[in-house]
Chain length 198, copies 2
């Protein structure tokens, strides 16, 4: 095998491990990820799993980053080219509800689950998660401010809290309660919360 070939091979292996870890962690939690389960699931040795990352924690961090990238690709990127305004906010809501209804993670919204899992566990993973959530909150507040629509909420920050909350409730209604009308109700609730017409 040429060196270039083996580098590409190493990158593919790393990618495959992270992809599997994201799916697995969405069901059992990031803390529930065990090297043994990943090794079994991927037909690899335990040292083959940990090796590329150096530690289980680094693998968890990369799984979290990958999940963040999947969220951005599903919710933020599709509207990135549109001019800011109510139409872009409405499309962002549609993309967000679509992501929750047809979730790319088998166990439901990854970041919501990781948030309740790690909020009480100080360390690099919690710090990482906190940065990801804060960045998304600011972006969403900016999006709401730029749309300049009137609503019952007093500030874009307050409306951002409400939209993020609705996404969490919809995730629960879909994943735990199996409610068939959760997505439609969530979309209507989000539009009403930011003053968009139904």
């Amino acid at each position: 095998m040429s060196p270039r070939h083996s580098l590409a091979e190493a990158a593919r292996t790393r990618d495959r491990i992270v992809g599997y870890a994201v799916a697995e962690a969405s069901r059992v939690g990031l803390e529930g990820l065990t090297i043994g389960t990943l090794a079994d699931g991927l037909g690899m040795s335990k040292s083959g799993i940990v090796g590329p990352f150096g530690s289980r924690e680094q693998l968890q961090i990369e799984a979290l980053d990958r999940a963040g990238g999947i969220f951005r690709a599903a919710v933020i990127e599709p509207v990135a080219g549109l001019p800011a305004g109510p139409d872009r906010l409405a499309r962002l809501i549609d993309a967000w509800i679509g992501y929750l209804a047809d979730c790319p993670f088998p166990g439901g919204c990854f970041v919501t689950a990781a948030s309740t899992e790690f909020d009480g566990r100080p360390g690099p993973l919690r710090d990482h998660l906190r940065t990801a959530v804060t960045t998304w909150r600011s972006r969403l507040s900016g999006e709401i401010a730029a749309a300049r629509v009137e609503s019952a909420h007093r500030s874009p920050d307050e409306a951002a809290t409400v939209l993020i909350g609705i996404s969490m409730a919809v995730n629960q209604e879909i994943q735990l309660l199996d409610e068939p009308d959760a997505a439609e109700r969530g979309r209507a609730a989000m539009r009403a919360a930011v003053g968009l017409p139904q």
Copy 2:
């Protein structure tokens, strides 16, 4: 020791184990609860921990029930004697935000965390949780309907989704983001969502 005395003693032991399990599970998750950690924390043997419950799962179910009782005592019971209407809904919101801000669980809202932890794990715990969440949703919808206030949301069910969502977002802002104004913003957001004056 008389039989009555030993019965009382057994009840106290059971109570102490469940109380410790609730605190521990609010930090590490219900699945993260290990008999070994409980035994170490309580200075008991592992068989002394499992014995009263018969299984770890039964202990997890009792911890979930206990957490539900703590939530009801903090949020529902304080308003139970008031006549239904906007004032009772406003007080329920105050009690709910108070519960989130001064959380009786060290790791934040227990049921929210358990929900994302168990939504992808079929079994008695998920069923139990689902019943608890469904019961609370119905009660909250009834409370909103009885208050007869006008809001941007089209139905009491939609408004219940929004309030439950805001409680989850506030829990994240307090537990993960350490935001000092999370409780006040959450209270304002909840009042606005159901059409109560600020």
